[in-house]
Each structure stands twice: as structure tokens, then as C-alpha cells.
């Protein structure tokens, strides 16, 4: 009996202490934020997985340091899973992440995966999803304000492609479009056709292919037959390994006329893509303002961390995770719905601006509940009502010696 009473007394003492502690902490219990990273580790976009993973891990390091410097009790942990470029796999990977307590989900990289994850779990649980998928099709589904895209949608990418071709080939030329028959390729090819024709250009042929096929020689032949001034290729690395080889085999193909969309943007051309299929080819991918201190700081962090080379959209992944963290601090909660409701409060136009260099101050301000404007490595975030960026800077690059070289930047709205 005395034993029981003793235990009860101990419990009472502990609870009392806890109440006192929480009261002293001005109602702020330590935030233990888990950010889920849905990575393309394997599958058709497996080139994108490792750089995205490194970017998100860096954001946790930076966020934890900022919280410590600001004296705010908050901790960020990254939990990750492989989405395999497959809607089913992405959904089950997300379930794992949510079971591990993820309050935001970074990724995935394709629209079908994003829609599957959205409808399967994240919308219902009000978990914000930060996909790197850029298709305009993603906005044809109801998302209840849970999808924030850290990358610009393809209606902007289409305009960047138009500018890149005008700058390097010329206005009013004939362009052949080759795209994989999927939401990404289908929607972007349509936007491009409209935008290119509006600028007085012509489309010599539009060739779509089924990515499940094993040979693309007929498709390649049709593309080169019209002898266009430029090719727009909207494809993933896995299929371009086959399509690119088929294009070279036609004997009439000039890779210098190629303009690839962002899914074919990599720091170094992968081994399975024949070098002749991309050497001299141009491409566009969402870029970051290069002159800023935030950009320099991010690159320094990246290089110091070692590991994989920097690639397109790493800054966007990094910024997305930071936004999730700042929103959680602002909300004083790791509850997914509370985070969702604070995203526009940490990207508020007109509020005091902060960057990764002043992140500790941003955390301090956000912890008081005041609105802030986090200006990311990839630029300021001005989300439209649907959660897409309203403008973006694009890098125009060229593959030289198997490596990506940035040539210029174009701003599109």
C-alpha cells in the first residue's frame, strides 16, 4: 500500500513540475519538427534523388543552428523515403513518413506521384506538400491549400524555353517538339506550342511517345525528317537514354539544336545517355539569383558538406524545408494544419525580410508570432492563390564536355 502511495506522490510531483515548467516557458514547449523527404532515389528520375536529399539535410543543419542561435527551443529532424518515380510507391513511402511523424512533405518530383500522395494522405491530414513537379496539371485537382510549389509551374517554363530559343536560334523559327506522353510532357508541350506560335514561330512537328516502348527509332526519324531549326525535348533521363541514341542513329541529328526541359537538367550527363545525344544541347531549369549573399552562402555550405555536386532545384528544396520550419516556429506547433495556415505569414510581401544568413533573427521574430518575409536562396516567394510561384528566374544552360554550364538567366512572369 505504502508503495502505491509513494508512486502516486511521485507522479503528482512530476506533473506539478511539468506544469510549472510549461508556464515558465511562456507557453512554448520545445518544437520537435519532423520534415519528410520523399526522394527519387530509384526509378526513372533517380538522378534527382541524391542532390535533393543533400539539400534537405542541409536545411535541417541550418535550421537547427538558427534555432540555437536564436535561443528558441526547436529541433528539425529529416525522415526520408524513396518514391521510386511511381505513384503507388510514392503513396506508401509517404505513409511511412507520416507514421514517423512528418509534419511537411518535401517532394516528389512528378505530377502523378504528387496527385497520388495528395489524394491518398496529405490533403486529408492537412500536411503541406512541396512537390518539385512542375506540370500545370497538378492544379487541376483540389488540394485544400496544402500544395505549395517551391518550383515554378510549366506555364512559366514554357516561356523560358521560348526566350532561350529566341536568344540562341532566333525568332520565328521552326521547332520540332518531342515529349513523353505523360502529364509533364503533354501539358508543357501544349503551353510551349501556344507561346512559341504567339511569338511568330512555327512548330514543324509534334511527336509524343509512349515511355514504356523499347525502341524509338520511328519517333526519332519523324523528328529529324522535318529538318527543324530547333528541337524541344521534354523527357526523363531513363527514356532519353534510348530516345537520344535513336536520334543520333538517324545520322541527321544535331544535338546543338536541342533545348531540353528541366527534367533533363543535371550537373553531369549520366553514363547511360550517349554523350552525342546531349553535347552542345541547351536547356532551361529554374534558377536562383546568383549575385545574392544567400546564394553564395548556400553554395559555400554545399561545398563544405561534400558529397554530390550541386544540381538544379537544390536551392528550391532547401528553401521549402526552411519555409516549413519557419511556419512551424510561427505557429508554435508541429501540427500540420497549423503549419499550413502560417506559410503565407512567413513569405509576407512588405514584412521584414530575412535570408539564410539572418535566419536566427527570422526565427526569433517568427517565434513572437510576427509576420516575416523569408527571401530564399532561390529568391523571394510570392505564391499565387493556388500556391504556385507567380514569377521565376530560369537558368539557360548548355552541356559542354558532358557538364552543365550556365550561360544566362531569364526572368519570366
Amino acid at each position: 500500500m505504502s508503495c502505491k502511495i509513494g508512486r502516486l506522490a511521485a507522479w503528482a510531483a512530476v506533473s506539478a513540475l511539468a506544469i510549472v515548467a510549461s508556464a515558465q516557458g511562456a507557453g512554448a514547449e520545445p518544437l520537435d519538427l519532423k520534415i519528410g523527404a520523399l526522394l527519387e532515389s530509384t526509378g526513372p528520375l533517380s538522378e534527382l534523388g541524391p542532390p535533393a536529399e543533400k539539400a534537405i539535410n542541409l536545411s535541417a543543419t541550418v535550421a537547427n543552428k538558427a534555432a540555437k542561435d536564436a535561443g528558441v527551443e526547436a529541433k528539425v529532424t529529416i525522415v526520408s523515403a524513396d518514391s521510386q518515380g511511381d505513384p503507388q510507391a510514392a503513396l506508401s513511402a509517404t505513409r511511412t513518413l507520416v507514421d514517423k511523424g512528418a509534419s511537411c512533405i518535401m517532394g516528389p518530383s512528378t505530377t502523378p506521384e504528387s496527385i497520388s500522395v495528395l489524394n491518398g494522405i496529405t490533403m486529408q491530414r492537412k500536411i503541406t506538400l512541396w512537390p518539385l513537379a512542375s506540370s500545370t496539371r497538378l492544379r487541376t485537382v483540389k488540394d485544400d491549400g496544402t500544395i505549395y510549389r517551391p518550383v515554378p509551374a510549366d506555364d512559366l517554363q514554357s516561356k523560358a524555353l521560348v526566350k532561350a530559343i529566341e536568344n540562341h536560334v532566333g525568332k520565328g523559327k521552326a521547332v520540332a517538339i518531342i515529349f513523353r506522353n505523360e502529364p509533364y510532357g503533354d501539358a508543357l508541350s501544349k503551353s510551349f506550342t501556344t507561346d512559341w506560335q504567339a511569338e511568330g514561330g512555327t512548330i514543324s512537328s509534334t511527336i509524343s511517345f509512349d515511355p514504356q516502348q523499347e525502341s524509338f527509332d520511328s519517333e526519332a526519324g519523324q523528328a529529324v525528317d522535318t529538318n527543324p531549326d530547333a528541337y524541344v525535348v521534354i523527357d526523363y533521363p531513363e527514356t532519353y537514354a534510348k530516345l537520344g541514341a535513336a536520334l543520333v542513329r538517324t545520322g541527321k541529328f544535331d544535338a546543338k539544336k536541342v533545348f531540353v526541359a528541366d527534367a533533363l537538367s543535371f550537373a553531369k550527363v549520366p553514363d547511360n545517355i550517349p554523350p552525342e545525344a546531349l553535347e552542345g544541347a541547351y536547356g532551361v531549369a529554374g534558377g536562383s539569383p546568383t549575385g545574392t549573399d544567400a546564394f553564395k552562402a548556400f553554395n559555400k555550405l554545399w561545398d563544405e558538406a561534400g558529397g554530390v555536386a550541386n544540381a538544379s532545384y537544390t536551392a528550391n528544396s532547401f528553401d521549402a524545408a526552411i519555409l516549413c520550419f519557419l511556419s512551424a516556429v510561427e505557429a508554435g506547433s508541429t501540427e500540420p494544419g497549423a503549419i499550413r495556415d502560417k506559410i503565407r505569414s512567413v513569405t509576407k510581401d512588405g514584412a521584414p525580410q530575412f535570408t539564410i544568413e539572418t535566419l536566427a533573427d527570422a526565427v526569433k521574430t517568427a517565434a513572437t508570432g510576427k509576420e516575416i518575409d523569408y527571401v530564399g536562396v532561390s529568391g523571394a516567394f510570392r505564391f499565387k492563390d493556388n500556391g504556385d510561384p507567380s514569377s521565376s528566374l530560369y537558368d539557360v544552360f548548355q552541356y559542354q564536355g558532358g557538364k552543365q554550364v550556365k550561360i544566362e538567366q531569364v526572368n519570366v512572369k
Binding site: 530509384t42 509524343s208 516502348q213 523499347e214 526519324g221 537514354a241 534510348k242 542513329r249 549520366p270 552525342e276
Partner: protein, 337 residues
Amino acid sequence: MTDTTQTERTEARASVLSSALAALPRPALLLAVLIVLLCALVIAFGPVRALQATVNGFVAGSYTGLGAIGLTLVLGVLKLVNFAHGDLLVTGAYFTILFAWLGLPLPLAMLTAMLATAALALATEKIIWQPLRLAKAGSLQLFLSAIGLGLVLRFTVQFFAGSQVRTLGANVVTSIAIGPLRLGTLQALALVVGISAMVIVGLVLRFTSIGKEMRAFADNRALAEVSGIDTQHIINVTWIASGFLAALSGILYATAIGSFNPNFGITLLLSLFAATVLGGIGNPYGALVGGLVIGLSQEWSTLLFNARWKPAVGFALLILMLMFMPQGIFGRAKRRS
């Protein structure tokens, strides 16, 4: 010879064409149809485009046709719908990577991989198929076991090799120019190997004693057994041949296509079955010709429709052809009891 007369009888019943045309054997009839179609395409689209599409059709067809030869053997001789066949192709390709990684030069690694896959196919007979037969498993049970085996093989490969895209490092961009037409060097190799494999398997089945025994076994197992044929030996040989051919086509596919992952077998499997059924089950010539016909109809269709529809057009034609020749191109009408 009785086969031919029966074929003719079926033709005469099935065909609504004139009796002279109906009397032609199906392969000849098919060839005539293909030539007429080709001529029409040449007139409509010019010789270069039509012939290039034909060359591409042969290439696409050889990928599936070659893989289907091993499948048709198992289906014809053992009456087993081997859903794991596509994954045997994958195993062959990944064994090559394994042996090359262990230090063998590539050609030797390929040969070793074929032998290893043949051994694996024989092992599946000993571990799975023989016990299942002895337990009197029905065709549905065998079918499900084959699907299961395919999954086990695929995920075993994924477990050890990962699911990322691999390459055997062959040069896939060189091509042979025949006038204005282009044919990839490795694609030409795939076509030549496909035709050679078909001829060799066809000759072995026709003229060697083991081939005759296999055909006898396929026709009537009980009768073969009472005639003194060692049936277990036939089954073993069929598995070894099927595994060897699967690995050969898997390796050739992996080399000629240039990049692959462990899922290429299951993606290819439907086309393999289509080629097998269209060609006539159990017939190696049929497997390759079936593959070529599907390849040709898909690539020819790109002249008329957007290329994204080519699988749909190819398989619609397959259904149409099976309506006219349900036994397949080289298949035989069922014996009446």
C-alpha cells in the same frame, strides 16, 4: 503432311476469300498481305519513309521475337504459362553485370551469364515445377506460381543490384547506312542473332532426336511416355534451352537498348506472349515471325498516327489477326478426338 491438309481444311472453313487464296498456307497468305501493305505505304509515304519504318519494325520485332522463342518452347512443350520468363531475361542481363564485375571480360561474362541462367531455369524445374506437377497442381496454380517466381526473381535482382538504371556500356549510337536508310549496328546484331536462334532452334526441333522427342512430348505426353521417351529428360532440356534463350535475348536487349532496370522483363512480357500466341504456340519460327509482325504493325502505324498510339494500334491488329487465324501463323489446328 496431314498437318497441311488439316490447315487447309481450317482455312477453307474460316476464310471467306476465294478458294484459291484460301488454299494458300497461312504464312504465305500473311507474307502476301504484308507485301501489299508495304507497297501501299511506299505509294502513300514514299519509299524512304516506308522502308525506314519497315527497318524499325524489324528491329522492334526482333527484340520481342527473340525473347519469345524461349517462352514458346516452355508453353508448347510443357504447357506452362511461364509468367517468370520476362524475369529470366532480366536475370541474364544482371548475371552479365555480376560476372563482368567479378572481372570476366564482357563476352565471356555474357556466355557465363547464359549458362548461369540456364542452370537457374533448371533449378526452378527441380525446386518448383517438378514438385508442383507431382502434387497434381492445376494450370491456375502453376500460373500463379509462375507469377510468384517472377516476382521473387525480380526483387532478388533488385535486392542485390538496386533498381537504378544500368548500362552494359556498349556503343548504341553507331549505325549502318543502307542508302538513305539507317540501322543501328547493335540493332542489326540483335536481328541477326534473332534469326539465327530461330533457325537453330527450328532445325534442332525438326532433325535431332531430342527435338523429335520434344515434339512428340508436346503432342501427346502419355503416348510419348509409353513409347519409351525419357520425359523428365525432355523437361530438363526444355528448361535449359528456355533459360539459355531467355538470357541470350535479355543480354542482347540490354546491350542494344543501352539502358535498363530490373523491371524491363515485366514490361516486355506482354509483347512476348503476344508474339508467341500470334506466331503459333510452340513454334520457334512463329515466335520470331509473330514478334516481327507486331513490330511492323507498330512502326508502320507511326506513319499514319501519332507515335504515342503505336502500342494500341499494334495490339488492335493482333486481335484482328487472331480472329482470322486463332491458331496463330504457324500454329496447327487442334486434333479432333
